[in-house]
Amino acid sequence: MKYVLQPLRALVTVSAATGVAAYAAAALVTVGDVIGRQIGMPIPGVIDLVQLFILGGAWLVIPYAFLTGAHVGVDLLVESFPRALQTLLRFIAGLAAIALLALMFKYCYDTFQQKQMFGDRSQQLGIPIFYFWIPLLYGVALSIVAAALAIIPKPLQETPE
C-alpha cells in the first residue's frame, strides 16, 4: 500500500511547491511592473498574468491543505467523545469532503467545456479563459486524492502491499 501512497503524497507536495512558485511569479511580475512604470516600461497584461498565476497557484496548493489537515475546524466537542467516535466523525467528514470535491469536479469540467466551446478570452492579453480552468481541474482532482489519502488509517498506509 505504501508504494502506491508515497508517490501520490509526493505528487501533492510537488504540486504545492509549484503553486507557491506561481505565487512568487505573481509577486515578481507585479514588482517588475511597479518598477517598470517608473521608467516608462510597464509589463503588458500584468493583471491577466497575476490572475493566472494566483488562480493556478491556489488550486495547486489546495490539495496540500487537504493532505496535511490544514483546514480549520473546531475540535472542542469532538475531543470530548470516545476515540472510536472521533475517528468515525473524522472519517465521515473526510468522505463528505470527497463527495463535495467529486461533484465540484464534474460540474467544473462541464463549465470548462463550455468555456472552451465559447472561446472566451482574458481582457488584456487575450489568454483563452479555459487555460485558467486547467490548473483548477487538476487541483480539484488532486484534492480528491489528497482528501482520500488523509482519511486512510495510518496502519493501512504503512502496509507494503
Binding site: 507557491v20 509577486a27 490572475q51 488562480l55 496540500y64 475546524g73 466537542l77 463528505a96
Partner: protein
C-alpha cells in the same frame, strides 16, 4: 417554511457540522449546496458547484491573500522577532513589568509586517517568554502578554482578516488598512496599561530590570531598519497612493524574502519550511473562500439579510443598540470559532444589516476584526492560548488562562472607545491619497 427560516436553519446546520468536526470550509460548502438545491433545484446547485471554485479565487483583488501570507511567513523566518524585541526592550525594559510591555510592543511591530496572529505568537513566544522567565517573571503574565500581543497582528495592517472582510463587503482594502492603524496603536497602549496596572497590584509578578543606555538603544534601533523600511514601504505606499494593496503585498513578499536572505536565516531547509507553510495556509484560506462563496449563494437566495433588517426595523431598536447586540453576538461566537471562519460565515448577512443601519463599512470592519481578536484569547477556543502554550514545554493551559483576564478587559475598553468615537478609525482613511 419561508426561505428566511431556511437561511437560519442553514446557519445552524453549518454550526452543527463544525461542532461535529467538519472542517469549516466543507461545512459551509455542503450546507450551501444542499440549501441551494432545496430552494432552486439540482440544476441551480450544479451551476454554483461549477462556477464557485473559479469565481471565488479569480478576482484580482484576492491576489493580496497569498502574497501577504508569503510576506508573513518569510518575515517570521527572517529572525526579525529578536531584533524587534531587543529594540523595544532597550526603551521599556527598565520599568516594572517592562519586559511584558516590550513583548506586546514587539508583537505589534511584528504584526505590522506579518499579518498573522498565530505566526506572531509562535515567533515572539519563542523569543520573549524565555527572556521573561530568565528575569523572574511569572509564567501567567509572560504567556498571557504574548497571547494578547499576538492578536494585534490581526488588526495592525497588513491584515489577512481585513483583506477578506474588504473582499466580502466590497470595502476598500487600502482604507481598511489605514483605518486599522489608530485602533491597533490604542490596543497596544491599553495592553501595556493592563500589564502595568496588574504589576502594580502584584509586584512579585515582574521584578525590575536595569535601564539601557542610549548607545545600546541606538544600536538596537539600527538592527530593525529592515522592518521599519518594509512597513513604511507597504503601508506608506498604500497611504500615499504609490501602490494598490495587491502591489503593496507583492512588494512586501519580495521585501520580506530579501530581508530573510540578508539576515542569513534562510537556509534550504527553512526555505522549504516556508514553502510548505505558505502552501498550507493559503490553501486553507482559498478553500474556505470557496466554501463561503457556496454558502453565500444559498444565503442570498434565502433573503436572510433582508429578514434580519426587517426584524431590527420592526423591533424599534436604535442603531447603537443593534450594534451592541451584533458585537455581543460576535464575542460569544468568537469563544467557539476561529476568527476567519466567523467572519466568512457571518459577514455576508451582517454587512447588509450594517449598511441598512447607516454604519460606515470601514468602521464596522475594524469593529468586527477587533471582536474577532477578542475571540483569539477567549477560552475555550482562543487559538492564541494554545499556540503560546505550545511554544514553551513548561506552560500549562491553566497558567495562560489565569493571566489573560486583564487583556480581555483592555479589549472591551478598546471596543467601547472605538464604538463611541468612530473618528478614531475614520480620521486617517479620510486623509488618504
Amino acid at each position: 417554511m419561508t426561505p428566511a427560516i431556511m437561511g437560519f436553519i442553514g446557519f445552524g446546520a453549518s454550526l452543527f457540522l463544525i461542532a461535529f468536526g467538519f472542517p469549516v470550509a466543507v461545512a459551509m460548502a455542503l450546507v450551501g449546496v444542499v440549501g441551494f438545491w432545496l430552494l432552486n433545484g439540482w440544476a441551480g446547485a450544479g451551476f454554483i458547484l461549477g462556477s464557485s471554485p473559479f469565481e471565488a479565487i479569480f478576482p484580482y483583488s484576492l491576489s493580496v491573500v497569498p502574497l501577504f501570507v508569503m510576506m508573513g511567513v518569510f518575515a517570521a523566518r527572517a529572525g526579525l522577532s529578536r531584533s524587534l524585541f531587543d529594540m523595544v526592550n532597550s526603551f521599556l525594559g527598565h520599568i516594572r513589568g517592562g519586559l511584558a510591555v516590550t513583548a506586546v510592543g514587539a508583537c505589534a511591530l511584528f504584526g505590522a509586517i506579518c499579518g498573522s496572529s498565530l505566526a506572531t505568537v509562535a515567533t515572539m513566544g519563542r523569543v520573549a517568554i524565555p527572556e521573561m522567565e530568565k528575569h523572574g517573571y511569572d509564567g501567567s503574565l509572560s504567556s498571557a502578554s504574548i497571547a494578547a500581543g499576538g492578536t494585534l497582528g490581526v488588526l495592525i495592517p497588513p491584515s489577512i482578516l481585513l483583506v477578506i472582510y474588504g473582499i466580502l463587503t466590497q470595502t476598500s482594502i487600502g482604507q481598511l488598512f489605514i483605518g486599522a492603524i489608530v485602533p491597533g496603536i490604542i490596543g497596544a497602549v491599553l495592553y501595556g496599561v493592563a500589564i502595568i496596572v496588574r504589576v502594580r497590584m502584584k509586584p512579585e509578578l515582574a521584578p525590575p530590570a536595569a535601564k539601557a543606555g542610549w548607545t545600546k538603544r541606538l544600536a538596537s534601533l539600527r538592527r530593525v531598519w529592515g522592518v521599519l523600511l518594509l512597513f513604511s514601504l507597504v503601508i506608506g505606499g498604500i497611504y500615499i497612493g504609490w501602490f494598490s494593496p495587491t502591489e503593496a503585498a507583492a512588494v512586501g513578499a519580495v521585501g520580506a524574502f530579501v530581508l530573510a536572505l540578508i539576515s542569513g536565516e534562510l537556509s534550504w531547509s527553512t526555505l522549504w519550511e516556508s514553502v510548505r507553510e505558505t502552501a498550507g495556509l493559503s490553501g486553507m484560506i482559498f478553500f474556505i473562500l470557496i466554501g463561503a462563496s457556496l454558502f453565500n449563494y444559498f444565503l442570498e437566495t434565502t433573503g436572510l439579510p433582508s429578514a434580519l433588517i426587517a426584524g431590527i426595523e420592526s423591533s424599534g431598536m436604535g442603531p447603537t443598540m443593534a450594534l451592541i447586540l451584533i458585537l455581543l453576538f460576535y464575542i460569544v461566537l468568537g469563544c467557539f470559532m476561529d476568527a476567519m471562519s466567523m467572519i466568512l460565515l457571518t459577514v455576508p448577512f451582517m454587512a447588509p444589516v450594517a449598511i441598512s443601519l447607516g454604519f460606515d463599512m470601514v468602521w464596522f470592519g475594524i469593529l468586527v476584526v477587533t471582536v474577532a481578536e477578542i475571540g483569539l484569547i477567549t477560552p475555550p477556543i482562543g487559538m492564541n492560548l494554545f499556540v503560546v502554550q505550545a511554544t514553551q514545554p513548561g506552560l500549562t493551559q491553566r497558567m495562560v488562562v489565569r493571566g489573560i483576564l486583564p487583556f480581555i478587559i483592555a479589549d472591551i475598553i478598546r471596543l467601547a472607545i472605538l464604538v463611541a468615537v468612530p473618528a478614531l478609525t475614520l480620521w486617517l482613511p479620510a486623509m488618504m491619497f
